[in-house]
């Protein structure tokens, strides 16, 4: 241990130096490193979080824009489809109606014609009857008158001769 003394190593001083250093270490750790490192860590976390949030927000915005476009496109497609369907349906319905009315009109015309023919026949029949009566009456009158005349007597005589 003589050599330790010769190079100046002293137990008390050695311990005192170590304690001095340890106190410095403790104080710096407690009052400088710990709060500072915690603070830096917290800020790093906050910055990371902020960046992450920004990224996410951007992603969501992109998605929303894409979604909006998609929805618009879909809606447009749908509207087109609906319009086309409606047009088709209305055209079909129109044709149907026209066909129906045509049919009805034909039927009405047909009925009218039938009735007209019937009426005419009836008129004819009645007219025929009346005409026959008139002819008979007229013939009677004419015949009576003719027979009364000389000519008629002569004619009859001649026939009889």
């Amino acid at each position: 241990m003589e050599i330790l003394k010769q190079i100046g190593i002293d137990g008390k001083l050695l311990l005192a130096q170590a304690v001095n250093f340890l106190i410095l270490l403790f104080i710096l750790h407690r009052f400088a490193y710990k709060p500072m490192l915690a603070f830096l860590e917290k800020r790093t976390e906050r910055i990371e979080e902020g960046l992450k949030n920004a990224d996410e927000a951007k992603k969501r915005l992109d998605e929303a824009a894409k979604g909006e476009e998609r929805i618009l496109a879909e809606a447009r497609e749908e509207a087109k489809k609906i319009v086309a369907e409606t047009r088709e349906a209305s055209e079909k319905r129109g044709q149907e109606l026209v066909a129906e009315f045509e049919k009805k009109a034909e039927k009405i015309v047909e009925e009218a014609r039938e009735r007209a023919i019937e009426e005419r026949e009836k008129l004819f029949r009645e007219a025929k009857g009346e005409i026959a009566d008139l002819v008979i009456a007229t013939t009677e009158k004419v015949l009576r008158e003719k027979l009364d005349t000389d000519d008629a007597k002569k004619s009859v005589s001649r026939f009889l001769a």
Partner: protein
Amino acid sequence: MEISIIAEKLFSLGGFPVTNSFFVAVLVAVLLAITVIFFSRHPKEIPRGVQNVVESIFEGLLSFIESITNDRKQARDFFPLVATIFLFVLFSNWSGLLPGAGTIGLNETNAGQVSMVPFLRGPAADLNMTVALSLVAVISVQVFGILALGIRGYGSKFIVAPWKKPYVIGTVVGLLELIGEFAKILSFSFRLFGNVFAGEVLLTVMLTLVPYLVPLPFLLLETFVGVVQAAVFSLLTIVFLKMAVTSHAEEAH
């Protein structure tokens, strides 16, 4: 001119010999604590002025440690010890360069010989300080190793049964590792002491030979040496810490 390898005693405090280097060590510690706390308290969310510098020092040191450990958590665990060693050694070394350190003092007669007792002496130009620091560093390394691997896991680095896999070689290597741990104390303390003490001797000699201008480049050199030694001490501490918390199995990969 006489330069003592032993730090000179300034006065006694209840039987405790206060040497000039211990006095400066305490002074450096106090000033360092005040300064660092002053600059790192109440940090603002958006840094301004000095806070930028303090933050970049913290971040730089932390990412430097992380570049060696490859592990954020380990880097945070090692940070206090490593940062304190770096700051304390750095400012201790620089304090020895202040004008008056090693040159201003009182003449004292000791056993018929007159010798000058300087008031200030670089703390690291005293083996007590460097050995104390090395002990703190090496003991911390052991503590971190045990905390990380457990007593059995950590002990298995040094004590290997001769009937296990690499057989006797493993046992001998373990023994060498154990000796290596003690060698670390010696290499740590003598490296720092040697560099700083040599610097002080160099500066004193230069000042005695040519008082003006000539010592200036050497002063700059010693400023640089101060940084290098602080960096070396803390860098080696990180490396030893990393080696201690890494198990054999991991090392093999």
